[in-house]
Symmetry: C2
Subunit: 248 residues, 2 copies
DNA sequence: CCGATTGTCGCTCTATAGGCTACAATAGTA
DNA sequence: TACTATTGTAGCCTATAGAGCGACAATCGG
C-alpha cells in the first residue's frame, strides 16, 4: 500500500542497534514477533497491519494477532478506521512505566528477604529459644557462609558431631572457617584453629553480616542480621584474640 | 534435609504479595519455575537444590535445571561444595541492573523513532523535494493523525482525489479534520470546512506536533516534527483565520 | 454488482517449559 | 571394603504457546 520508502541495504551499525533493541524487548517479556512489530512501528512512527507486516518481515495475518496482543500489553494504540492505523506508545513512556513497576516489585521482594527463616516482628537482635532452634540457626549460618565463618565455643562436641559435613562443605566451597576452642578439644574441619582458655559463650559470625551469641548449653541465643552490628562483634573478637592470654 | 521451618498456612496478604512478585518476575523474562525458584531463594536467603524445590513446590530434578538457568541469567550465585548451596543475587541489585539496561535500550529505541520515514541528518525543518515525495508525506500525516488534522491549500483537487479514502478513514477514527479552501472548490470529507480568499501555499498540521508548508504545486516543502514549532504555526493560522477577510 | 483490500478464524507445525524415571557420582557408615 | 542414602545428571515424554498458512467473511471503491 504505502510504497513510500525505498528499500535499501541497511548500514551494519543500524542493524546491530536493532538486534540490541530486539533482544532487550524479548527479555522484557515480549515474544519474537511482538518485539519485531513494536520496533517496526517505532521505526515507521505509525502504520496499518499490512505496513507493519512488511517492515517487520512477518506474515500479514500474524501482524493482526501480534498487534492485538501488543495493544493489550499497552505497547501500541489504535482508534478504529479501516484500515486501522496503529501507533506505538513512545519508548520512553513504556520505559518509565516498566521502571516504576520494577522499582515497586523488587522493593516488595526485597522486603520479603529471609522472611521464611526468621520469624517474629523485626528487631535489631532476635531472641531464639530452645537448643533445637539455636542449633538449627547455627547450621543455617554455616550453609549461608560465602566468605568467612567464625565460631568460638567452650563446648564443641555436639556442634562437631551434628555439623561435621556442613563444615566440610563450607571448606570445599572456599569459605574461610575459623574455630576458637579450648585447648585439646576435638574441632571440626577448619582453615584456622585457635586455642584459648576461658571461653564463656558460643559466638558465631558469618561473612561479617550475621552474628549469634548463645549460652554455653545453647538453650537460648541472640541473633542479628545487621551487618554493622555483626562487623562490630567480629572486630571485638579479633581484638580479644590478639591479646595475650593472661591479661584478661 | 533442613527441616527448620514449620509448615503453616500463610496469611492472605503474604500470599498476595508473592503472587504480585511472581507476576512481575514472569513479565521480566523469567519462566514460571524460574520466578518461583528465585522467590523461594530470596525468602530462604540460601539453600540447596533440594531446599529450593521444597520451598518453591516444584519437582526436585527441575530445581537443578532451573537453578542452572537462573545462574546463567545472573539471578543466583553458587560456589562448589556438595550439596551445592545457592544464594540469590539481592533483589535491589537485579533491579538496578535491569533498570540500567532498560534505560539504555529504550533510549536507543527512542533515537530510532521514525528513522524509517524521514531521512538525512536531523534538522529542525526538513526539506522534501519532488511532488511525489511531498504528496506521500501529506498522506503519511493523514494516516498518523490521532486528534486533529489541519489542511489549508489553494488547490485541493489532487489531494482530494488521491487521499479521499484517507480523509474518510481519519474521520472514522475520530480525528477532527479542518480544511481551509478557496470558495466553491470541492473539498474532501471533513469535520469543519472554512472558505477563504488568497490562499498562497499548502499548509498541513497534524495533532499540533507535525507541520508541513509546501509551494502551491507541491513540488517542494518544509517539514518539521518539532511540537513547539508545529503548535506555533497552528496558532498562527488560528489567528489569521479569525481576522476579517478585508483587513489583510 | 464485482474485484480488491482488510480483517478473522482455525488448523498444523515447532520450540520450549515442565514432569518424571532411571541412573551415575559421591559421601557417610557399618 | 561394601552397603546405603544423598546428590546430581541425562534422557524422554507431554503440554503449551508462538509461528506459519490457507480459507473465508466483511467492507470498500468503483
Amino acid at each position: 500500500m504505502n510504497a513510500t520508502l525505498p528499500r535499501r541495504t541497511e548500514s551494519t551499525s543500524r542493524a546491530l542497534e536493532k538486534e540490541d533493541v530486539l533482544s532487550l524487548l524479548k527479555r522484557t517479556g515480549l515474544s519474537d514477533y511482538e518485539a519485531k512489530v513494536y520496533l517496526a512501528l517505532v521505526l515507521r512512527s505509525h502504520g496499518t497491519a499490512e505496513d507493519v507486516a512488511v517492515t517487520a518481515d512477518i506474515p500479514r495475518t500474524s501482524a493482526y494477532k501480534v498487534l492485538e496482543a501488543l495493544k493489550k500489553k499497552g505497547y501500541v494504540n489504535s482508534r478504529g478506521g479501516r484500515p486501522v492505523v496503529f501507533h506505538p506508545i513512545p519508548p520512553l513512556e513504556i520505559r518509565d512505566r516498566m521502571v516504576a513497576e520494577m522499582e515497586r516489585g523488587f522493593q516488595l521482594l526485597d522486603s520479603l528477604r529471609g522472611s521464611q527463616t526468621e520469624k517474629g516482628s523485626p528487631q535489631l537482635v532476635y531472641t531464639i529459644m530452645g537448643k533445637e532452634s539455636v542449633m538449627a540457626k547455627i547450621g543455617e549460618m554455616l550453609d549461608m557462609a560465602r566468605e568467612r565463618f567464625f565460631l568460638s565455643s567452650p563446648d564443641l562436641t555436639e556442634l562437631n558431631n551434628v555439623f561435621a559435613s556442613k563444615f566440610a562443605n563450607a571448606l570445599k566451597r572456599g569459605v574461610h572457617v575459623t574455630v576458637v576452642a579450648l585447648p585439646s578439644v576435638k574441632v571440626p574441619d577448619a582453615s584456622e584453629v585457635i586455642r584459648k582458655q576461658d571461653l564463656l559463650a558460643t559466638d558465631v559470625i558469618t561473612d561479617y553480616e550475621v552474628a549469634l551469641i548463645a549460652t554455653p548449653d545453647l538453650s537460648i541465643c541472640g541473633f542479628t542480621d545487621n551487618p554493622f552490628l555483626a562487623a562490630h562483634l567480629d572486630n571485638f573478637f579479633q581484638i580479644s584474640l590478639d591479646r595475650p592470654e593472661g591479661k584478661r
